[in-house]
């Protein structure tokens, strides 16, 4: 089994599915000859030709709108938005059409399609290359929003996303594109969408995160273990629709919840998770629900980005507070 990085796993899944299903087509800016600015589509144009690996003109609304038209006609587009910071010109097509076509036509026209975008901070990139705005799309009924946290999940979830009968926004945490490798067999086995993964079992506290932040979260859990605190770690993975039951079960067990997110705190996905706990398990709680998050300000340019992003220390500080709460 090859040991692959997250970005390689994405590439593997795309290649596997394009091999298996001739209706799958990749499109986006610089995804062909250049293989994508992060190389997610590297080599695909050689394998599948420029009919199925399409370098588009520079227009995100076009990429989304054209993908919608293609999907309606039985082609399965996997569209790349070069950086999530550039997804907003496509917001209208995503929110008003991608999310609604099945509903609007009473199921007559459906849109099996994937929109991929690298997101998140920590790679010293220019402005608009580091934000985490998954919560915006998680609030839109009709979309599925999926965020893999490691290579195996990237492979399995990408396969599931492409095979899903409904539109999926697939956000790739670029900070961890290459920091870990997993042995991933290219066997076409998918991971289920719409469910959280309990990465680590614990009894004192539930740490809930997704995407790149899961790495800091796991490091924190390790450290807490050394301090005799047993933390359960949940990878949300599909941030919408949310598998809240797995989270509630865990919180019921541990009585303590700490949510870790990179995006700004106000109105982030963590708020939805906290609200659900507060509605359905409030009296299982032995401590307030904590949220370690990016600050409610604009993501700074890279010289200060480390100061913006949640760190293992910040997670530990909050976790200890919660566990020691009287």
């Amino acid at each position: 089994m090859p040991a692959v990085t997250l970005i390689e796993a994405v590439n593997m899944a795309l290649s596997h599915e394009m091999e298996r299903d001739s209706t799958v087509v990749a499109l986006g800016e610089d995804i062909g000859t250049n293989g994508g600015v992060f190389r997610a589509t590297d080599g695909l144009i050689k394998k599948f030709g420029k009919e199925r690996v399409i370098d588009t003109p520079l227009a995100e609304s076009m990429i989304a709108g054209v993908s919608i038209g293609m999907a309606a006609q039985g082609i399965k587009p996997v569209a790349e938005i070069q950086f999530m910071g550039f997804i907003f010109p496509a917001a209208d097509q995503i929110i008003c059409h991608m999310a609604r076509m099945r509903h609007r036509t009473r199921g007559r026209i459906t849109l099996p399609m994937v929109m991929r975008a690298p997101f998140g901070g920590g790679i010293h990139a220019p402005e608009h290359h580091s934000e985490s705005t998954e919560a915006l799309f998680a609030h839109i009924p009709g979309l599925k929003v999926v965020i893999p946290s490691n290579p195996s999940r990237a492979y399995g979830l990408m396969l599931a996303a492409i095979r899903d009968p409904d539109p999926v926004i697939f956000l790739e945490p670029k900070r961890v594109y290459r920091i870990v490798k997993h042995e991933v067999e290219d066997n076409g086995e998918e991971y289920p969408l719409g469910c959280c993964f309990v990465d680590r079992e614990g009894t004192d506290l539930t740490l809930i995160s997704w995407g790149a932040m899961l790495h800091e979260t796991h490091m924190a859990a390790e450290q807490l273990a050394k301090e005799g605190i047993s933390a359960e770690v949940i990878d949300v993975a599909t941030v919408s629709p949310l598998d809240i039951d797995t989270i509630l079960e865990s919180v019921e067990k541990t009585g303590r919840a700490l949510i870790v997110q990179e995006s700004p705190k106000a109105g982030g996905l963590g708020s939805e998770i906290a609200a659900e706990i507060a509605e359905k398990r409030v009296f299982s709680l032995l401590a307030p629900i904590g949220r370690v998050a990016g600050y409610d300000t604009v993501m700074p340019y890279y010289r200060l980005e480390k100061q913006y992003m949640p760190t293992v220390d910040r997670i530990l500080e909050q976790a200890r507070k919660i566990v020691e709460y009287k």
């Binding site: 227009a59 076009m62 709108g65 293609m70 059409h97 076509m101 009473r106 007559r108 949310l242």
Partner: protein, 361 residues
């Protein structure tokens, strides 16, 4: 200074507002009685449907409705030239073309009557539903065209947009990609000279809307949008070209909106004096009738028979529409995803419970 590129925009009209041919070179169908009669019938049908829908809205039996009064030749012209296997991507004032391509009047009424089933077209299964967000449909048409191209099919796509809608970025992005990808798409601009209250004089500095195609490197033609023969002829040529893999075309059809923007609008607030009187003289239906009369293929008797026949059809559609029970509350959820998430399933149950409780009361 050397000249590196030259362009021109041509205008076509076959029948003037008195029903007289303005050229000897008429397209073949312009002499075919059956075709002319079916075009005439289609225009009269939309005219009556719109009038009826308006009346329904005024009596609280219909939602906001956008009539196409005065622009019937546009939708009927390009809609009637489509083959069944072609794909129509309409806009909200698109009933004339939609009906030509198999959407039923009842479906049109259901849609504007606030019922999603109005977009579950029973015949035009592949046609897109109405896109309310302006210009977005142009990109869907390009995508459909791309799929057709990838599948190596000989079909084409037609989409319609208002002249005001051409100011949106999506319109331009769509014609640009249709140009560079050589897509089998025909963009029809319904230039009814108004975007609600905004006239072309403050919409764009272009002398023609057709010339916007030059920014995409695609062919364009301007036609008299009140001359159904000119519209249909331009559409036929553009479709043939598209199906032959020769790429996209932009057709600007110049007409005039003879009604309010929608039932929610009052054009008297902004429409200049006398515009309507002039407009009615140029409207498409009377013009075609005069032309058919001059060919000796249409009589007063035909006219009466037709309008009676259409009145019955429209009434039938209205009756069916009014007889349609609203959807059950759970249908708010049943088409969101193929499989409803557990959490939303609870909301579905709750909504059903509430409705039953109400019913019980």
């Amino acid at each position: 200074m050397t000249t590196v590129a030259k362009f021109e925009i041509k205008y076509t009209q076959y029948i003037d507002q008195n029903g007289k041919p303005t050229t000897k070179k008429l397209p073949a169908f312009a002499k075919d009685a059956d075709t002319l009669k079916s075009l005439y019938r289609a225009m009269c049908q939309v005219r009556q449907l719109d009038t009826k829908a308006y009346a329904l809205q005024r009596t609280g039996k219909m939602g906001t409705y956008p009539a196409a009064t005065g622009q019937e030749a546009i939708g009927v012209g390009f809609g009637s030239a489509l083959n069944k296997e072609d794909v129509l991507v309409p806009y909200y004032r698109g009933q004339a073309a939609m009906i030509q391509h198999g959407v039923t009047m009842e479906e049109v009424l259901l849609y504007w009557g606030g019922d999603e089933r109005g977009s579950d077209y029973q015949h035009a299964r592949e046609d897109f539903p109405i896109a309310v967000p302006i210009a977005t449909q142009c990109l869907h048409a390009a995508g459909v065209g791309k799929a057709i191209q990838l599948k190596g099919e000989k079909r084409c796509v037609a989409t319609e947009i208002g002249e005001g809608g051409t100011s949106e970025g999506d319109f331009y992005e769509a014609i640009n990609v249709a140009g560079i990808w050589n897509l089998p798409v025909v963009f029809v601009i319904n230039n009814n000279q108004w975007a609600i209250s905004v006239p072309s004089e403050i919409q764009t500095a272009c002398e023609t809307y057709a010339q916007k195609a030059i920014a995409a490197g695609i062919e364009a033609v301007q036609v008299d949008g009140n001359d159904v023969i000119a519209v249909r002829d331009a559409a036929e040529k553009a479709y043939a070209k598209a199906r032959a893999g020769k790429g996209a075309t932009l057709i600007e059809a110049v007409s005039l909106r003879l009604c309010d923007h929608t039932t929610a609008d009052d054009a008297r607030r902004y429409r200049p004096e006398g515009e309507l009187d002039e407009g009615w003289k140029a409207e498409p239906i009377l013009r075609l009738r005069k032309y058919m009369e001059s060919l000796g293929i249409w009589t007063e008797a035909d006219e009466e028979a037709l309008s009676k026949e259409i009145a019955e059809e429209v009434q039938q559609a209205v009756d069916n529409y009014l007889a349609t029970e609203p959807q059950a509350p759970e249908t708010m959820f049943d088409y969101l995803y193929e499989e409803l998430p557990a959490r939303t399933m609870e909301q579905r149950e709750y909504a059903i419970k509430l409705a039953q409780a109400k019913g019980a009361k």
